[in-house]
Symmetry: C2
Subunit: 360 residues, 2 copies
């Protein structure tokens, strides 16, 4: 088969890590007889430099015409970069929000996995993580505070800023279904996180999630308040299977969860919608401080490419092959500097990509 992939390298370490993911995809192509064709697109600071905004309508249209999207990372150093001297709606992050919304990618899946081989990097005491953990945060991605009306006004000489958090039942229902579907393929537990003791949107969230749960009698549903969830992720991450939550809570909790694994350079993510077209990117950011130094860990991006094979192209065997190659390379003792440990071999971005491709 022939697949057309929008390749959006972005800023900072983006170009390096996307290059390695493509190396691995191409190896898959060779071995299994697929062709991956890449359409290189600009988004983020690099697009601001050329077009004055983070994502042009033309680029968005080109992305829409592809079968899926592989993204590195966007953004620079907020304090230093010119990319943040322009109006908010054109800044690097705005491109990310525009592509999510523009492609209707309302379901963000972020695995939080304690890799056996890397458990030493986990900031939690070993007794809390014995046996490892493996859960996913399923975050609603195109609603809530991120996309509500906002304005900054003057009232009697006083500046006031207003953001709006809104959800309708359909928006909640479709992400809840995703959450339960994913749980059915895993350990059949959904923990729905909200702030129902304060917010109307959370009370609606809880109600709709309960309705959806009726169609999944095998899945155990629990509710948790967001403040409590922020605690439980530190106290006992093993309790979770699928955490289902709205956009802003998901932003905060998925980052906390990724840090709890201790291996943020390893964590992939997928953003999906109603069609097969998905956006795949590492959970981490553009790390401008180490850009261009062959230091970045490409594994999160490579594992994101594996998710692309699985979710967008239904290539299960190929996805497994990538994931197994990553596991093998870790077993063989190779590490990038962010996950380096005593007695292991430290390699650069390119070498790590080569080593993984070799093992396919």
């Amino acid at each position: 088969m022939n697949y057309k992939i929008a390749s959006i390298a972005g800023d900072g370490i983006g170009p390096e890590i996307v290059r390695e993911a493509r190396k691995v995809l191409d190896k898959i192509g060779q071995k299994y007889g697929h062709t991956f064709e890449y359409e290189e697109l600009l988004m983020g600071g690099c697009s601001i430099d050329v077009y004055g905004e983070s994502l042009t309508d033309e680029t968005l249209e080109k992305a829409k015409a592809c079968d899926s999207i592989l993204l590195g990372a966007v953004g620079g150093n907020v304090g230093q970069s010119n990319w943040y001297q322009i109006e908010p709606s054109k800044r690097p992050e705005a491109g990310l929000l525009k592509i999510r919304k523009g492609l209707g990618l309302y379901a963000n899946i972020r695995p939080a996995i304690l890799f056996d081989e890397l458990s030493g990097a986990c900031p939690l005491k070993p007794e809390l993580t014995e046996g490892g953990f493996d859960f996913v945060v399923m975050r609603e991605l195109t609603g809530g505070l991120y996309f509500g009306e906002r304005k900054t006004i003057e009232e009697n000489g006083v500046t006031k800023a207003i953001d709006t958090l809104s959800y309708d039942e359909n928006e909640i229902r479709r992400i809840a279904k995703w959450g339960f579907d994913v749980a059915m393929k895993r350990n059949k537990k959904v923990c729905s996180v909200d702030k129902a003791n304060v917010l109307d949107s959370s009370r609606l969230w809880r109600k709709v999630v309960k309705e959806v749960a009726k169609d999944y009698p095998e899945v155990e549903l629990t509710d948790m308040l967001v403040d409590n969830c922020a605690m439980q992720l530190v106290r006992d991450p093993k309790q979770f299977d699928v955490i289902l939550t709205e956009n802003m809570f998901g932003d905060i909790l998925s980052d906390e969860a990724s840090m709890v694994t201790g291996s943020i350079g390893m964590l992939s993510s997928a953003s999906l919608g109603a069609t097969k077209l998905g956006l795949y990117e590492p959970s981490h950011g553009s790390a401008p401080d180490i850009a261009g130094q062959n230091k970045a860990n490409p594994i999160a991006t490579i594992l994101s490419a594996a998710m692309m094979l699985r979710y967008s192209f239904d290539l299960e065997e190929e996805a497994d092959a990538v994931e197994n190659a990553v596991k093998q390379v870790l077993k063989d003792g190779y590490r990038t500097v962010d996950i380096m440990a005593e007695g292991k071999t430290c390699v650069g971005t390119t070498e790590m990509g080569d080593l993984i491709a070799e093992r396919i």
Copy 2:
């Protein structure tokens, strides 16, 4: 001097822990020649049982007439208790929001301390917390999503819920001043947390905090995005001195921070406004599952009483005396069950209160 304290025991373990805090306050009174007079008020589920709502206007007026407020905890088991079968504006938590707003308590201070004697309970690896940590979360408490307009409507047969997040510059300025004032008495570092890459309210927050910072040239100000802060609290809590943030972010981050200390039964909190009248309560909740069993740790409430002596009554020496008595009791090897460790003596709620009072 004579001080009038509103004593709001509340629900669950509330009555037990407030009783012990009053025991300690009375000992302070004896020793230093003060009289603490208590006005017992109902709030939370116990008030719903009597008046059908969590906090009546009369009770609020009575609280206003006191010099300060000592609160246990409110709320029950959401799934099981009748207190959650009534409309949201009358439920236990609504009383808490009503008293905060009604008394203008816009500044919530929650210390996150790794107690030397209890470092074993911290979920983080020892190498991350060596030397201990001690920071405070300064949370805005009467604005943002908690108090914005909210509604649930039907639009073309679809239910939609809307909450509003708004801040004006005055609301931000006054809490920012508190943050910098507290930092001046500590290590002179403020980390202001927002989501300025998405929210208008956060962009205004950042701007106003920067303006306020100009009046505190000795204080080092940094900005951090809320998702990053959720990570940093796990990765390196030692970096913080004062975390300054808005209401919802503060709710999430302060709970995460308290869990990172591993000793949530030890953490106090103070809610303050423009006058000396403050509300003092433990950071933890009402723990209905252990209520009435003489198991609850009263120390968070006792340390909250110490904050009352310091912030509302300007009784520095007396506040120190309480804090030192708590330290001494830990040194002497006494623990409640939540902080129990090998070789220590496990005591109940009452005994812990007695032991601390004895050491005053």
